[in-house]
């Protein structure tokens, strides 16, 4: 579904991504891990179109994305969450979800007038579904900034899902979460997979990634140093060396 073909991203002298090749299949949960600075966030930004690659192509469902700006990639079906939550703080929970209705289906089902000036019942139902999904039914009219941290993370995830994506990029969604919240997130991610959404999960929190990913790629200094299922990755020497500075045989 998504092919990263020999992508390099240079920021001046820094090679954030170095001839990276990845392939993510439809319906997979694909994990990306690596030490800090290995290029994980840059990878998301390149896929979303926030940065254009210095070299190489991002190919989504057979189409080269090249110059397409971020909002157009959303219409193609690519959504994301942010490492440092980026909700709209002075909008209500409801409004945060409401503004995210920009998918091709949403534009087709609602007539222009209602999209911009009205509030059809279809919209109400769909947003209510999202509120249910994120356990925020009672908070619909509260400002996003007044939510607790865990609630904000759930809202951000719901907002990304509200755009009806086919590919969802999660940028360290478990950062700062406790064990219960991580278990909850694990369940949510699995349920999204059941809905047919392909997920790329960038994460540091190993118990989440190892538990939920079908396949994992490991990055270091902008290149891929390993790829495989969670068990293979855990035993991989190059991975251990990258993270811990030594391998089991030392």
């Amino acid at each position: 579904m998504l092919k990263i073909e020999s992508i390099s991203k240079h920021f001046g002298g820094v090679k954030a991504l170095n001839e990276l090749n990845l392939e993510v299949g439809e319906g997979e949960i694909f994990g990306v891990i690596g030490p800090n600075g290995s290029g994980k966030s840059t990878l998301i930004n390149v896929i979303c179109g926030i940065f254009l690659p210095t070299k190489g192509d991002v190919i989504f469902e057979g189409q080269i994305l090249s110059e397409k700006p971020t909002h157009q990639r959303l219409k193609k079906g690519i959504a994301r969450t942010f490492q440092n939550i980026r909700l709209f703080p002075n909008l209500t929970v409801w409004q945060n979800l409401w503004v995210a209705r920009n998918s091709v289906e949403d534009i087709k089902t609602e007539s222009s007038f209602y999209r911009w000036f009205g509030k059809s019942s279809i919209v109400k139902k769909e947003i209510e579904k999202m509120l249910e999904f994120s356990n925020l039914e009672n908070r619909a009219d509260e400002l996003a900034s007044s939510l607790a941290f865990g609630e904000q993370r759930r809202l951000e995830l719901a907002r990304a899902v509200a755009t009806k994506p086919r590919l969802l990029l999660l940028d360290e969604p478990a950062a700062g979460m406790n064990k219960d919240e991580i278990r909850d997130l694990d369940k949510r991610i699995r349920s999204l997979q059941l809905q047919g959404i392909t997920i790329i999960l960038i994460e540091h929190v190993m118990e989440l990634v190892m538990g939920v990913a079908d396949r994992i790629a490991v990055l270091n200094f902008g290149s891929k140093i390993a790829e495989g299922n969670p068990q293979e990755i855990q035993k991989n020497e190059a991975v251990q060396e990258a993270y811990l500075g030594y391998s089991e045989d030392d």
């Binding site: 909002h71 942010f82 703080p89 409401w98 503004v99 509030k119």
Partner: protein, 296 residues
């Protein structure tokens, strides 16, 4: 009676001026170009009624369209100029427009009289209302019909998805584009809409004051235009109206007896208001408090 009608007219026009900036401020564009658009609307409508002898309604509507189109053109380069630099660019734009009209001479002779904009002497004799026998009360009603329509449209925008999208762009452009919002379309539309409203209010203004002078269109007017929505808060249309009533009604007219001291009071009030209520007098918290106390 006439004094009060005049005041009510001024309040109406300034409310529209403030609302023209309201949409732009919601999208995070700090634009002081409203004075320039206001001037374009004024001169266009006045030229149409005075030199071409048009009826007031098409004149004002055409002024609105011309100004809106100009704002549309301005909207694109404005995208390239970020943050506080936009303030400077729009100040410069408004000044340019003012100087343009300061130098505009277009005199025609009608019925033995010379009429039309006269460069540095300004544009006097905009007598449509008096020539056509409008009473002062009729002028007020006419004007305020437009004010109420504009207020209604913007209030509706605030309640609907449009308002939320505008404010989402103003709060976080990166997040907005990540959920599929086309920043260019939203920001240029806001600028265009602001232009329409400013042009409309300018056209009405020209006929209400009957003479135009470049002194009316300085940067000061542009700062008033953004002051109203900033003081009133960007989440509620009525905030802007209240700010206008407060500033125009009380300070400029009501406290005339204070002489020059009222402008000092005005400046002081703005400084104090921004320190204590940086999100405007009618921010979400204040509105929540008001709603709660009404329910109780």
């Amino acid at each position: 009676m006439d004094f009060y009608l005049n005041l009510i007219n001024t309040i109406g026009i300034h409310t529209m001026l403030g609302l023209s900036a309201y949409l732009l401020l919601q999208t995070g564009q700090l634009s002081l170009a409203q004075a320039g658009f206001f001037a374009v609307g004024s001169y266009t409508a006045a030229i149409l009624t005075v030199i071409f002898q048009w009826n007031i309604i098409p004149s004002v509507l055409v002024a609105m369209l011309v100004t809106g189109f100009l704002a549309f053109l301005v909207g694109f380069p404005a995208l390239r100029v970020k943050g506080l630099m936009l303030v400077v660019a729009t100040i410069a734009f408004s000044e340019f427009v003012r100087m343009f009209f300061y130098n505009l001479k277009w005199r025609v002779t009608k019925n033995g009289e010379e009429i039309g904009p006269d460069g540095t002497m300004g544009f006097a004799e905009i007598r449509y209302f008096s020539d056509n026998g409008w009473s002062n009360l009729e002028v007020t009603f006419f004007l305020w019909t437009f004010v109420i329509i504009i207020m209604g449209v913007i209030w509706w925008s605030d309640q609907s998805r449009t308002g939320a999208v505008l404010r989402a762009v103003g709060e976080d452009e990166l997040a907005a584009s990540s959920v599929g919002i086309n920043l260019t379309v939203v920001k240029v539309s806001a600028m265009t809409a602001g232009g329409f409203i400013a042009g409309l209010s300018g056209g009405l203004y020209a006929h209400q004051v009957t003479s135009l002078d470049h002194h009316s269109f300085t940067v000061l007017l542009g700062t008033f235009a953004i002051a109203y929505p900033i003081l009133g808060g960007l989440s509620n249309v009525f905030g802007t109206l209240v700010a206008v009533i407060f500033i125009q009604g009380l300070l400029v007219e009501g406290l005339r007896f204070l002489g020059d001291w009222r402008m000092i009071l005005f400046g002081l009030l703005i400084v104090l208001a921004m320190n204590f209520k940086p999100l405007g007098l009618f921010d979400k918290q204040t509105i929540a408090i008001i709603k709660r106390s009404i329910r109780v």
